[in-house]
Structures are given as C-alpha cells and as structure tokens.
C-alpha cells in the first residue's frame, strides 16, 4: 500500500499545509512584489544613465558623484550621522540605567515610571514633534551656535524617543540574568561597582549592542520629529530629502537614498543577529 501511495502522497497537500496552497503562495508573492518593487526600482534607477528614470539606458555612477558634490546634501548626511551617534551613546546609557532600576528594584511609583517610559513609544510622532517645537521655542534654545552644538535640540529630541526603546531591549536581556552570579561575585568580595563592571554589564552586552543599533536606526530614520525641531541651518538627511522630493523626482535622491538604505539594512541585520544571540 505505502509503496503505491508514496509517490502520490508527496504531491498531495496536507490539510494544514496552507503554505503550499497556490492561493496562499500567490498572495505571499504579490505582497512581496508590492513591498519590494518601489525600493528595488529606486535602487536600480540610481544606477541608470537616464534622468527620466523609466527606461534602462546603461549603468552609471554619475548620480552618486553628483550627490557627493552636493555640499548641502553631504552636510545633511554628516548632521544625521553625528546626531545618530550622540543620540545612540546617550540612549544606551540612559536605557541601561532605567532597565537596571526597573529590573532590580521595587519602589513606589514604579508603575507610573513604566507607563511614562512607554509614552514616547505609543504617542503619535506628530504630537511629540510639536511638543518639542514648543519646548525649544519656550526654552529659547540658541539658534546660531557653531556646529555641532547647533544640533543640540534635534539630538535631545532623538534621545527622548530612542532611549525608551533601548531600555525595552536591554530589560528583556536582563530578565534572563541569573542573580546567583551577582551574589557569587559579592560573596567573593566584589563591591557593588565591581559586580556591575565584571558580571552584570558583560552579561548585558548583547542587549546594549542591539539597543544601540536600534537607537541608531531610529535616529537616522526619523523625519517627523526632526522636521519640527530642525532650523534652516540644521538640516538632517531625511529633512533634506523631503525638501528635494517636494520639487522633483531626481536620480540624485535615488543615489543618496540607496546609500542610506544600505546603511540601515546592514545595521538592522547586525542588530537582529545580535538579538538572536542575546536570547538564551
């Protein structure tokens, strides 16, 4: 029996093998086409030797050269990178601190602190954007400071929405920490600081890296909040692209966007790998 049915059963689709059904495969495929066509078209046409962006006229790097020669674009890119770097470092430090406090201690008002930490994650970006605009105009953040101090307002805003995300990831990592390790270190004579330096922080490291990379991509990605905190002198890469897109669709934007896509995707893949390794 088995011998005769064996060949047929291999083709037959089991009742639960939804992934093998043609209709499901088709929907999955169409979804991927929908998700990837715009991005892949954008990348492909950044190498296309034609301004009209439709017909393939041969490979060229001239739009990358043009983007490199565009001083304001390079300035915006440098600004974005600087902001992302500072924001990441501060976010990881603040995120790690609050993760440790929430993981280790019981204290009055803990639920309120947790709720407040979730706020920057859930409220609409536009609300946070206008809040930052109102805040910095009330505080009177000086606008004519030398680079990179003029990026202060944007950096502060970025830290405010990044560090709760970093804290979330670091806390998830800490949740699996075996506190007996900490007790052992203390029994062996380590003081509080030595315990953190030699035991807890090394354990947290994958979480710190993953949280940092997330903070970095969040900062590089942000448009709405930056749009409200940026002045005419302090343009970041997404804000610059926004003003270029308003005028026209040009291959230079494609080239610049491709560079940013490659950077973010590379960082994300690294972050995902780190986080997978962070899981026990």
């Amino acid at each position: 029996m088995g011998l005769f049915n064996g060949g047929k059963r291999a083709i037959q689709i089991g009742p639960l093998e939804y992934n093998k059904r043609l209709s499901f495969r088709l929907i999955f495929f169409v979804t991927l086409v929908f998700l990837y066509t715009p991005i892949l078209t954008l990348i492909a046409f950044s190498f296309n030797d034609s301004r009209r962006n439709i017909v393939w006229r041969g490979f060229t790097l001239k739009y990358y050269e043009k983007a490199m020669d565009n001083d304001s674009l390079i300035q915006a890119f440098t600004n974005s990178m600087t902001i992302a770097l500072i924001s990441t470092i501060v976010s990881v430090i603040l995120g790690a601190m609050v993760a440790i406090a929430l993981w280790r201690f019981r204290f009055p008002g803990k639920a309120s602190l947790e709720g407040a930490m979730a706020l920057p994650i859930v409220i609409p970006e536009i609300c946070m954007g206008v809040a930052m605009l109102a805040f910095f105009s009330r505080v009177g953040y000086p606008t004519n400071m030398p680079w990179p101090l003029n990026l202060g307002a944007i950096t502060v805003a970025h830290i405010s929405f990044s560090f709760p995300f970093a804290a979330m990831i670091i806390r998830a990592r800490l949740a699996n920490f075996n506190r007996e390790q900490e007790e052992a270190a203390k029994d062996l004579g380590a003081n509080e600081w030595e315990t953190y330096r030699d035991v807890v922080i090394p354990y947290m490291r994958p979480g710190l890296l993953a949280g940092g990379l997330l903070a970095f991509t969040l900062s590089l990605d942000d448009f709405v909040i930056t749009f409200f905190t940026a002045g005419p002198e302090t343009v970041t890469f997404p804000v610059k692209v926004y003003s270029m897109v308003r005028f026209s669709v040009t291959p230079e934007i494609n080239a610049a966007s491709t560079v940013l896509i490659v950077i973010t995707i590379a960082l994300t893949v690294i972050a995902t790998l780190m986080q997978n390794r962070a899981k026990p």
Binding site: A116, N254, S257
Partner: protein, 306 residues
Amino acid sequence: MESWRRNPFVFWVTSLPPTLWLLFFFLVPLGIIWVISFGEKRGVIDIEITWVLDNYWRAFDPLYLEIFWKSLWMAFATTAICLIVAFPVAFSITFAPPRIKPLLLLLIILPFWTNLLIRTYALIAVLRTKGMVNFGLEWLWDQGNWLLTLVGLGDLQLLGAAFDPLQLLYNNTAVVVGLVYVHLPFMVLPLYAALDRMDRSFIEASLDLGAGHFRTFLTIVVPLAKAGIISGIIITFIPALGSFLTPDLLGGTDSQIIANVIERQFKNANDWPFGAALSFILMYITFIALTLRAFLARGSSAMEAG
C-alpha cells in the same frame, strides 16, 4: 527584585538620570503643549494662557469634524486592507518549514526598516504619471494596439486615440495605498506571533469533524488568535491615524488628515493653541484605542483560561 531601600545609592544612580531626562525633555514639552491648548492667540507669536476651551470647541466645527472623520476612515480602511492581506501572509509563514520561517519573516520586516521618507519617495517614483506602473500599462496598450493592427482593426482605435496615463498619485486612494505599504508589517508580525502559538490540533480536529476551511477559520482560528488580531489592529490603526508624511506626499489637496492640519497650525497658519488642542485630541484617541486593546486583551485571556 529587592526593595529600593536595600541599596538606595544604586537605586538613585540608576533611576534618577533617566527619570529626569524623561521629565524635562518629554513630559515638560507635552505639558507645555497641553497648557498652550487652553490659550488664546494674541498677535504673531504671543499666546496668552486664558484657560478657555475654545480651541477644543473649534475642533467640532464641521470642517474639522470632516477631517477627523476622513482620518478615522482612512485609518480604518488601511487597517482592514492590512488585516485581509496579512492573514494569508501570516498563515504562509506559520505553516512554512521551520528552516525558512526566519527568512520569510525577515523578508516582510526588511522594508519596514528602510527610512519611511525613502519608502514614500520610492512609491511616488513608481506611481507617478511617468512612473513604472503607467509605463507598464502604456507598454501593454502599445502591444494591444499592435495586435489590433495585426488583425486589421488598427484604424478603429478601440483602445483610445492615445494612451491616457492613470492618475495614481495625489488622491485618497494613493494615501491608503501608501499607508498599507508602510504599515503591513505591523499587522503581519502580531498575527504571526498569535498563529504560531496556536495549538494546531484544534484546526485538525475541526477539519476532521467535517468543517470546511473557511468555517474552521472563522470558528477556530479567529477566536484563538484574537489577542494577536486585536494587537495587530491597534498597532496598525494608531500610527495610520497619526501619520503625517504619507498624506502629505501622496495625498492631494482634499486628502489632508489630522496630522497635516496640526502641522499647518504650527507652521504656516501659526495658530499654536488650536494645533495644540488638535494634538491632544489625537493623543486622547490614541489612549482610548490602547485602553480598548488592554480591555479586549483581558477579555480574551480570561476566555482562554476559562
């Protein structure tokens, strides 16, 4: 977990800086907006805080009610389309061989990590009158005409005298397409998480007992995956409702939603008190949605337990 009193020094060192940061650079800014929302505009930049509710009442003006209605409607449409598309996608991933599951998930998540502005821009490049979609359609039109000419019907101009590119951008449909494009991963991930946790023997039992796939889906899968469905709906709906960039770049003059009106009050129209009131209304809607989620999730977990 230990009481903070056992080690106050470590407690203060770790909890004080983040709390102060959150207080000064997040809660205080929100508080300023909240206070401004009760103010009145006096002159170009002067705002007097008079603790009036006029700005909130103004939001109930038919003009703005219509914009709220449009925002809700667009967010609903986006959420509904995402839900319909995401279910088969999540099913495909759940029942795929374990080896390729992470890859399929990564394929869905990866676009989501690309800059939102760049994705929107990419969509413009594909949908504009001289973009890829219209270019493809024109090619089909040319081939059709060529075929008609071949069979001797070329003079009749059955397909029209010239190719008329579709207006795919700068209207409400473009905004919904853009919102679906941006938010689809938000729906797929919670659905997948819920389906993957589900005990498959329930589906098998239902199928064995003679229910069809559709009936099994409605009576077994949907109730079991309820928590994931609710999460997916809420985390798609909230950002879609508050989205600014997509309607701004893909929408026409009549597809401006609430976030665009807020932006206008703070930039061109320069009416901060009204913009602040609209921001808080948007935030309250967000909180209502989140409370609803917590409430529904509690109901469903109680049902699972019972």
